[in-house]
Symmetry: C2
């Protein structure tokens, strides 16, 4: 069988799908540096720097801010299994794929998910959320997706978190696609639990999930009546390793090289500055918008709440979705995203995330699409 296999040399794609996005060359370089022990004093110092850089990226002073050693889906699970116990009620907003995944997580924790549903491509309706909170005064948490990767919708995180505060609920925020690309202020908005991914606007390799928990969230974890159902994601154990102070207890073997990469990508974000990064994502989105509209492509999401880093456009009548994407990939080495779930076959999702959010990529995407669609 495998005797014919040889080393894998990937093609050099331009990654303008829903993630992974193009990775900074400096990040790939950092990734390949020699592995050291996960309890090495030099690595422990690096961990502390990563925590501080993540606090900057999230705009938080939460001490419990660190990367989970697995992709964003595991970050989501880390938040839910630590905060939600059997019988807990959670208001979950869904206007795309990832709200549905939150529902799954609540249910697998033995909790009850009260769904606030909005049409895919529309924003979560704040008034409906208020009504759900009024109807469920015993809800423990309000959970929603900040930037819906499946549709390109930005939900109003600030207002939703204010509502959670007003009704004395924990706020749980999916920031997988927003971190680094859209305004996000964990402390100002009083977000209690948040998770993200490395492979979107941080332009790092996929595989880690930055998370942050407020003191209120930590108090909820401490008051649990049932053990956390996941040993791997039990924050009390994880913090024995990632926690403050010189002493680090072995929990699991950290993905050492991926942490090098995350450190480097967070350094680049810090050097650019968060506000400048948000503005750059907006600027290239505007440029892409003009280019796509010149090709006759229409945005699905209202511009009032359109994500700059994830641009969803309708596939014109008579155009073969799979064929266009396949030609872009094989003839132009360009990846754009397909529609997910109920939007499959109907839309394309064009990402402008992290270092992929550049005028060069905008120009290349528009000119390549023009050739394939002509």
């Amino acid at each position: 069988m495998s005797s014919s296999f040889s080393s894998f040399v990937p093609p050099s794609r331009v990654l303008m799908g829903p993630g992974p996005s193009d990775v900074y060359p400096q990040v790939l370089e950092a990734l390949a540096r020699p592995t050291i022990g996960h309890l090495d004093p030099k690595f422990v110092t690096l961990m502390d720097e990563v925590k501080q850089l993540l606090q900057y990226a999230f705009q938080t002073s939460h001490a419990l801010t660190m990367p989970i050693s697995a992709p964003g889906s595991a970050g989501m699970e880390a938040v839910f299994v630590n905060l939600i116990e059997p019988g807990d009620k959670v208001i979950v907003c869904q206007n795309g794929v990832f709200g549905g995944r939150m529902q799954q997580n609540v249910q697998r924790c033995g909790g009850q998910a009260i769904m606030v549903l909005d049409t895919w491509g529309k924003q979560t309706d704040v008034q409906k959320v208020r009504e759900a909170l009024q109807a469920n005064p015993d809800a423990k948490a309000l959970a929603f997706v900040h930037a819906e990767t499946s549709t390109g919708v930005l939900n109003d995180a600030k207002t939703l978190c204010q509502l959670a505060q007003e009704f004395d609920c924990l706020s749980i925020v999916d920031a997988v696609t927003s971190l680094g690309g859209s305004e996000l202020k964990v402390d100002d908005w009083q977000i209690d639990a948040i998770y993200s991914g490395t492979q979107k606007c941080l332009s790092c390799v996929p595989g880690l999930s930055p998370v942050s928990f407020s003191d209120k969230a930590i108090a909820a974890i401490k008051q649990r009546q049932h053990p956390v159902q996941s040993w791997f994601l039990d924050m009390d154990l994880v913090m024995g390793y990632w926690g403050k102070g010189a002493k680090r207890a072995y929990h699991h073997t950290a993905p050492v090289n991926s942490i090098y990469a995350l450190h480097q990508s967070l350094l680049i974000l810090q050097q650019e500055g968060l506000e400048k990064s948000w503005a750059r994502h907006q600027q290239h989105h505007q440029s892409l918008k003009i280019g796509l509209e010149n090709l006759g492509l229409e945005f699905v999401v209202d511009k009032a709440y359109r994500l700059p880093q994830l641009n969803m456009v309708s596939i014109p009548d008579g155009v073969d979705d799979a064929q266009v994407r396949s030609r872009l990939l094989t003839e132009f080495e360009l990846e754009i995203g397909a529609g997910l779930g109920e939007l499959a076959g109907k839309v394309w999702r064009i990402g402008l995330m992290g270092c992929a959010s550049s005028q060069k990529n905008v120009d290349y995407c528009v000119s390549s699409l023009a050739k394939v669609l002509s």
Copy 2:
């Protein structure tokens, strides 16, 4: 705070602890290749190759053989959350740290762990396991650690799996430290569920956990009465992405670059040949043994069941554990492992795993230890 941070350049350590072990330079090179999409056709081809190479490494034809996108602890959890349901009884053998972690996993699945305890540093007593199986005819599974990283003991996997067969139990095997370093034959020994890690005898970076499930294990998953408590580790969903055929459903974003690295390390293992790799680990263990005994250091584990890749020796009276390890690290760039759990402060654990199992490393370790202990 962080404005003073700069790119992290790790020291070049020699990794002879309990893992991570030294990583092949070719693996680091593969790791840093350009990221491509997790649904890219080229990546799907790579996934298929990784599955076949893992089948070779595990010596199995099980179709459900793939890497979990997280470290070995998550591989352990993937096995338990998929196979064990509330009320299930599992015989768990413990003669070190990792049997205890299995117990935690069983309990967090709502199962009952029947413990077979043996002294740390001794082998699991097969007769006691037989008695436990006789006393618990309703046990669903027998779980044990093949190579106990915390003590350097090799448990008799072949005989234990025969016992599981005899009592119609599923066998669950922790092969984190054995895969690639010790004889391991999943099909011949009829292992039903097994998990490993990439950072031990595969000499790959930490962060992935190869797993394999037999048809009998898959049948047990299909007959579940309760949903799997983890969404991220639900094998039914994971296989929608890793499964056979051209169609791959999005589940989570695979750690693309880590998969490049795993592919490369498995290629190297295949090129060397499994039996030769096992023999090489044995050969350098013998050489290390002579060197350490010449220094007056005594092995704790009986040679009949001593692991070649993890050598546990007693710390001589009057020798300062932390000081010796610290001097080895700072003066010689050499990492060896401390004792874990009840063995903390009493032993050192010297790893000879993967490409770290070389005469060069043996010589360097013995000569460095000689200097520090003199």
